[in-house]
Structure formats: C-alpha cells, structure tokens
Symmetry: C2
Subunit: 164 residues, 2 copies
DNA sequence: GCCTTCTCCTACCGTATTGGTAGGATTAAG
DNA sequence: CTTAATCCTACCAATACGGTAGGAGAAGGC
C-alpha cells in the first residue's frame, strides 16, 4: 500500500472544504458526519494540513476550517506530502538533510545499491502524477459523481487531466 | 512507504541472477552472502518469483536459481507485482475479481469517493515507471556503479530510460 | 457571566503487518 | 551416504496503523 488513511481522509477533508464557499469556515464535526469519519482522528489529520498552511482555522463557536488558498492553486503533491510526511518508495530512501545522500544497507559494497535507479523513477512517477492533479479537479469530480452517479467516468478517462 | 523489503530484496536477487551467465544456477547462499541478506528470508522471497515464473530452480547440490527469460524482456512491473502481490495506492483499492469494481468505505453516498481520481492516477504513475524499466537496465546500472563508484549518475539522469 | 460549540493538545492502546527465525523434509551430486 | 542445495510451514518480536480518551483553551449567544 502506498498511502495510509491519513492521505485518504485528509484529501477528502480538503475536498469537503473546497465544496463550500471559501468564506465561512466548516466545522470538523460537519465533515466527520458527512464523510462518516471519526472526529477525533480527523482532528489529528487536519493539524497536519494546518502546519503546512494549506488550511486556516478560527476557534470557538461557529468556527472551523477553510482553505488558505484557492483550490485551483493547490496541487495534490503538497497535500499528500503534508499528510504523509514524505513520499518515499523504500525504507532506505531517507535523504540526509546535509548532503541529500540516499542511505542504503548495501551502500558499502557498490557505489549505490542496484535498486536505486528503480526507486528514483517510481518516486518521480508518483510525485508527478500527484503534481498534475489540482484540488479543484477533485472537487469538480466529486460534485459530478454525487449529482449523477451513473455518469461516473472510466479509469482511462481519469488518467488524463481534465484541464489540458 | 510504497514498497516493503520484499520488493527491495527480490529485485536485488533478480539483479544478482542477471549478473551471472544465464546457464549455471546461482545458489541463494551465494547471493545472501554477497548482498548481506538473511538466507532464510530470501528463500521465502524467491518462492514468490518462482511462482510468477520469473526464475527457475534446480534442486540438490550445485543447484540454485536462474532467470527464466533474458533480462531484456523482464519489465520491473512484473517483478514488483510478483513480490508485493499488488500495487495499490490505498486500502480501498482492492479490485473485486468479478466486476473489477473498486471498493471504498464511502461508496454509498456518492457514486465513487472523491479521492478515486487521484489514486487511479498515482497507481498509473507507479506502474508506468516500473514498466518502463527493464531488469537489464538495472543490471547494467549495478555493474557500472560497482566498477567505478565515482561515475554514479545523478537522479535526473536516472529518470530517463537509458534505452531511448 | 456562563453555557455551548468549536479548535487544540497529548497520551494511550488494540491489532495487523513486517521482517524476520527455526526446524525440518526433499532432492541431487560426488 | 554425506553434503549442498531447494522447499515448506510454523512461529515470533517489533513497529506502525488507526484509532480512543480526556481534557484545556477560545469565541459566540443568551
């Protein structure tokens, strides 16, 4: 599995925020109910989004969360990165902050382990497909399928960005 | 993390097999020693590769494993799929064998959950980057960097297939 | 004021998966 | 008949995942 439920719930949370008008904040309770997700867990997840400055909050009664920026300018690699912490294909893929070297258990024998080429490409593929997708696209998609479930697009259709 | 050590060790195992001449089999013990991996664990992993008919084995003394096909014709999506079982971005991404429908906890309210668009694209990105890479490429890469560690290519170089 | 509705913070916890070990049975070469 | 290998299956410790629990602050409504 590539992503955990943090990414799943967090993205759905962002979509729900985007469906509302950007002015008045939405409470987590409302989102938890409409999405059928546990409130206490959503609280932890939204904290990650706030730390990344993807959402803003107002406390107290009638408070809640709203998007910091318009959904069109939010790319999903930002969102998923904030939620998952990193997008690494493999445990050994921990970049050292100093020199950016990729650590690997097999680093002493060869210059770099044989699988490095592969994981770098995979990581690139994931990040690129995330970056090509904006939050606005997901919001449009969710509205489309909720209004008319029958017109749900095929997987092939999904692979092409709707904004060419 | 996208992949487990099964994929890591399994790919390295395939690379080691490819480095040898394809005729005489290589024992797991030799690979375990040269790669510094636990033998008993490698046995389980190579069983996955054998089940997928990516390697063949001969039992008894002087036995071992060898590639079933030339490394040029082996794409890494086959290998990783055999090792990991599936390449799914999310828990809800379990295709039912019957109708291929993607299950999702949120499937009852909307036609499909809002994140489906995103996960389909990510899955496509991963599989595509795996499929563009052949085992032969990894073998060539491992020989290159073991002979001359200094000439290790940059990450940008890695992103482009060496066979255009 | 003070009650309610929110965000915010942190500690805990059951369960499943991961990353192995252990022990043996089977097969073939010398 | 010993040795070197594949094969098979059960077990196990640690970690991460997916939450719960319980509260402490902040802002409106009355």
């Amino acid at each position: 599995m590539i992503f955990t439920t943090k990414a799943e719930y967090g993205v759905r949370l962002m979509v729900e925020l985007g469906r509302q008008s950007a002015e008045l904040p939405v409470s987590l309770k409302a989102i938890a109910e409409s999405e059928g997700l546990p409130l206490a867990y959503l609280e932890q997840i939204v904290a990650l989004l706030k730390r990344a400055e993807l959402v803003e909050s107002t406390r107290g009664a009638h408070g809640g969360y709203r998007l910091s920026r318009p959904a069109e300018s939010v790319t999903m690699d930002e969102v998923v990165l904030a939620l998952e912490g990193s997008i690494a294909p493999m445990t050994c893929f921990v970049e050292d902050a100093d020199d950016g070297r990729v650590l690997c258990s097999h680093v002493d024998d060869h210059g770099s382990c044989a699988t490095r080429l592969l994981w770098v490409r995979v990581q690139g593929g994931v990040i690129e497909s995330l970056r090509r997708t904006t939050l606005a696209e997901l919001i449009a998609f969710s509205q489309r399928s909720s209004v008319d479930p029958v017109s749900a697009p095929t997987d092939n259709e999904l692979l092409l960005p709707s904004v060419a």
